[in-house]
């Protein structure tokens, strides 16, 4: 075994990644078996997750493509229809075109509205929580707590609070200002309600990640800046932000992908309304198409595939940004 290893010192990518092979070589005649000794050892570590990935993402993904090329129902083999389902979504003359792209646009709109909001508010909260203040951990816990709830709880709670009859938000505004907008029945209020619910629910995650990033910044930098006369804002602008950039890009990337997956809040709070589809995100439309009434699995699969392609494009752009920043 060792003979083979030393005959191929550069052999193992995994060895380089783990940094184990080099250490072994440097230790001279050590012949004890260690992790990384066999070429397949790292793959064994990856295997459990890989199998889960294949089972719940890989196979369904390719089956999704397969289904989108047929006309299938849950239990019946459908005929091959080629790109017909895609054409139905991409041809402006098709009766499916308008609704599909309206819901895609709604989703993009939500991404555009929610990403800056969730990142900036997360940054502000992280900055506040990064100070020495009494009960700091308590506040960290509070801000993070909603993130542990399911969308069902969040959606129903905020639906109730914003509802026009007896909703606490509506009531409060009526009592103080004399009137309240129809939060869930008209835009822009419906979008604002969904954004507020999303903000309350998920802000803890971004806050915690950004906070962790801030705590990784050396206190020496701030001390040096303070000695040079930099005020708090200048410290934030020239030390915190640049050092936080990799973490910020991660947060932005994750947030865009998460916002793209919007379904539950509008489903529970507005039903996709004001009618017919003013706050209906594309994944809710996919769900309704595939799984309600006379479901059309194949058309829904084609819809989901187009969304998947868009998300891959967004991810690639993000990845490039991320890489160029690192370089």
């Amino acid at each position: 075994m060792t003979a083979v290893e030393s005959a191929q010192p550069q052999r193992s990518l995994s060895g380089r990644i783990f940094g184990i092979g080099r250490r072994r070589r440097s230790s001279g005649g050590d012949t004890r078996r260690r992790i990384g000794e066999s070429w397949y050892t790292p793959y064994l570590f990856i295997l459990p997750h890989f199998l889960v990935f294949i089972a719940i993402i890989g196979i369904p993904f390719f089956l999704g493509i397969w289904i989108s090329l047929h006309r299938s129902t849950p239990l019946r083999e459908g005929p091959f229809v080629g790109a017909a389902n895609y054409i139905a979504l991409l041809d402006p003359a098709s009766l499916h075109f308008e609704r599909y792209w309206t819901t895609v646009w709604n989703t993009i709109l939500f991404v555009i509205m929610s990403t800056p909001l969730l990142v900036i508010v997360g940054l502000v909260l992280a900055t506040l929580l990064n100070q020495r203040l009494r009960g700091r951990n308590f506040f960290r816990g509070i801000f993070f707590a909603p993130w542990t709830l399911s969308v069902a709880v969040v959606g129903l709670t905020w639906w109730w609070m914003f509802s026009g009859r007896g909703g606490v938000v509506t009531r409060f505004l009526e009592d103080t200002l004399g009137s309240s907008p129809g939060w869930l029945t008209s835009n822009p209020w419906a979008w604002i309600a969904i954004l507020v619910a999303t903000l309350w629910w998920t802000i803890g995650f971004n806050t915690i990640i950004l906070l962790a990033g801030m705590q990784g910044i050396s206190a020496d930098l701030y001390e040096a800046a303070a000695i040079d006369g930099a005020n708090r804002w200048q410290q934030f602008r020239h030390i915190t932000i640049p050092n936080l950039r990799p973490v910020l890009l991660l947060v932005v990337t994750l947030q865009i992908l998460a916002s793209f997956q919007l379904v539950g809040q509008p489903q529970l709070m507005t039903g996709g309304g004001p009618p017919p589809t003013e706050t209906m995100p594309v994944l809710l439309h996919v769900y309704n198409t595939g799984f309600t009434g006379r479901g059309d699995l194949s058309l829904a699969a084609a819809m989901a595939m187009i969304v998947a392609v868009m998300m891959v494009v967004v991810s690639v752009i993000n990845f490039r940004l991320f890489r160029s920043e690192r370089a």
Partner: protein, 509 residues
């Protein structure tokens, strides 16, 4: 045959659930569970939330399902809480069953989607069934209405179907075309059921593609409720609810002007919007003599005069009579709170209204704006292909269905109108003093069973009214004045005509 042949009565029980079927379903379920998993992280998603309290599916489970009452179970899909059996009232007609239990006996499983109080009465009836005889042992399980179809399909793939399903008539075309149901024309014959046993429309709702798959258990119509105290306050006669357009509109105006309450409220948005406005549209549409499709089910036809005038009337209520446009279920809450004087709601709201308003609750027919006609759903009893495995199990299933129909007096206690004529007549003939509160309401509602009409029993039947781009959604846009009635119904009809042509080819009905 173009497209795919219905593989009726072949798929689920044997060993021939092909791998591709399994995987296709699996992919679907995986997609669902991914969506559910995403709830945990980011601004994620959810498995389908339960509908708003007043919004069952087209024919489906009324009786206000508790929101998100499911708990995670071994299955990928959420399951319902199982109710304890309700105590059944005494009385009711003595109706003998024609079908006998088989000598050998068998265990049978029954699934329903009765998550409301009706589920407890169903279980009570199953217990009584088990007490009365020893041959057939029935076990009942409640599934959530929202995922009932998926649950049945999963069971078919996993070869774990129950023998009997109790569910909305609108589920029959889907389940039959997926090959899950076993036809029961022979059961109807053995039991002596015919269009004489039930109101004809309800009886016909159990047929798909020329074969019978459902035996009617009940109907749950939309009912016109009004508040007698508010009528009195507005100077109207509390004992004579409005019967036509003129008296209806006069009542709206009088109550709005004379009292703090609204005369009527219209739903304009919210999760339950397409359903709640849909059933009002349907009632008016039936009143105008509308037909959803042509006779061959190849063309949607609800953009005719009957459809346009129905939608326009709803729009007119909002504009000319200044009826408030509210979120779904608020008209229900407002009625229960005495802040809305008239409402057209599913019969499953009866208990809630009766508890809230007591003596002030008035029940009647929806005013005949254009004529007579009412929206209604119907729960039907079906058998799955599982009964084809064992003659004893089939016979027990048939016996159970016949028995339940004969005992549907107690089913009425769950808040439904029994489909069986003899049972309904017995309730109508009873002295109100002898009836408990629920049965007393059913007694008032029972005559509506004769006038209810149903959506076409084809796979897209329910979608015509309640689906995306359907008539309900169209009516909502008219109520909100975002589109004109003719324009929006034309678009909807164009969409569904294309769908129906496709369905006809795919399903071969």
């Amino acid at each position: 045959m173009s497209a795919f042949e219905p593989s009726r009565s072949r798929v689920p029980t044997g060993t021939d659930a092909s791998p591709s079927r399994r995987y296709r379903l699996f992919a679907g379920l995986a997609a669902l569970s991914l969506m559910a998993a995403a709830c945990g992280g980011g601004s994620g998603t959810s498995a389908p939330g339960s509908q708003a309290a007043g919004s069952p599916d087209a024919g489906g489970s009324p009786a206000g399902s508790p929101p998100l009452g499911g708990s995670p179970a071994a299955s990928a899909l959420p399951t319902a809480a199982q109710p304890s059996p309700a105590e059944l009232a005494e009385g009711g007609p003595e109706i003998a069953t024609t079908i006998a239990a088989p000598e050998a006996g068998a265990d049978i499983e029954i699934w329903n989607h009765f998550t409301g109080p009706d589920g407890a009465f169903f279980r009570g009836l199953v217990d009584r069934f088990n007490e009365e005889q020893q041959q057939c042992r029935a076990n009942v399980r409640v599934q959530l209405g929202e995922v009932f179809n998926q649950q049945v399909v999963s069971a078919a793939v996993g070869q774990q179907l129950p023998h009997v399903l109790a569910g909305g008539y609108d589920r029959i075309p889907f389940l039959a075309s997926e090959g899950v149901l076993s036809p029961i024309d022979d059961l109807a014959e053995q039991a002596g059921f015919s269009a004489e046993t039930f109101p004809e429309a309800i009886w016909n709702a159990g047929v798909y593609n020329g074969q019978r798959y459902g035996i009617p258990l009940d109907t749950h119509p939309a009912v016109f409720y009004y508040n007698k105290a508010l009528f009195d306050e507005a100077g109207l006669d509390p004992e004579s609810p409005p019967t036509d357009q003129e008296s209806f509109e006069a009542a709206i105006t009088a109550i709005s002007e004379q009292t703090e309450a609204d005369g009527y409220q219209l739903v304009g948005s919210g999760r339950g919007g397409p359903f709640l406005v849909g059933l009002q549209f349907a009632a008016l549409f039936y009143q105008g003599g509308g037909e959803w499709t042509n006779g061959e089910f190849t063309e949607a036809t609800y953009n005719t005069e009957a459809g346009v005038q129905a939608a326009e009337y709803l729009g007119r209520l909002a504009t000319e009579l200044e009826v408030p446009v509210v979120e779904s279920d608020q008209e229900i809450a407002a009625f229960a709170a005495g802040e809305n004087a008239m409402v057209l709601s599913g019969i499953w709201e009866s208990t809630r209204y009766a508890e809230a308003l007591g003596e002030d609750l008035g029940i009647g027919l929806f005013p005949a704006i254009f004529g007579d006609g009412t929206w209604g759903g119907s729960h039907q009893l079906m058998t799955t292909t599982r009964v084809e495995e064992s003659e004893e199990a089939r016979q027990c299933s048939y016996f159970f269905i016949d028995w339940l129909s004969a005992n549907s007096y107690n089913w009425a206690e769950g808040g439904q109108v029994p489909a069986r004529n003899e049972v309904r007549e017995a309730i109508l003939d009873a002295d109100p003093a002898d009836l408990n509160a629920t049965l007393a309401i059913i007694q008032q509602v029972a005559p509506i069973a004769e006038t209810v009409q149903f959506l076409p029993t084809i796979p897209s039947g329910g979608d015509l009214l309640f689906g995306g781009q359907g008539a309900g959604e169209s009516a909502l846009q008219v109520v909100n004045a975002t589109k004109g009635a003719q324009e929006v119904l034309d678009e909807s009809v164009q969409f569904y005509t294309q769908r129906l042509a496709q369905d006809k080819q795919d399903y071969g009905y």
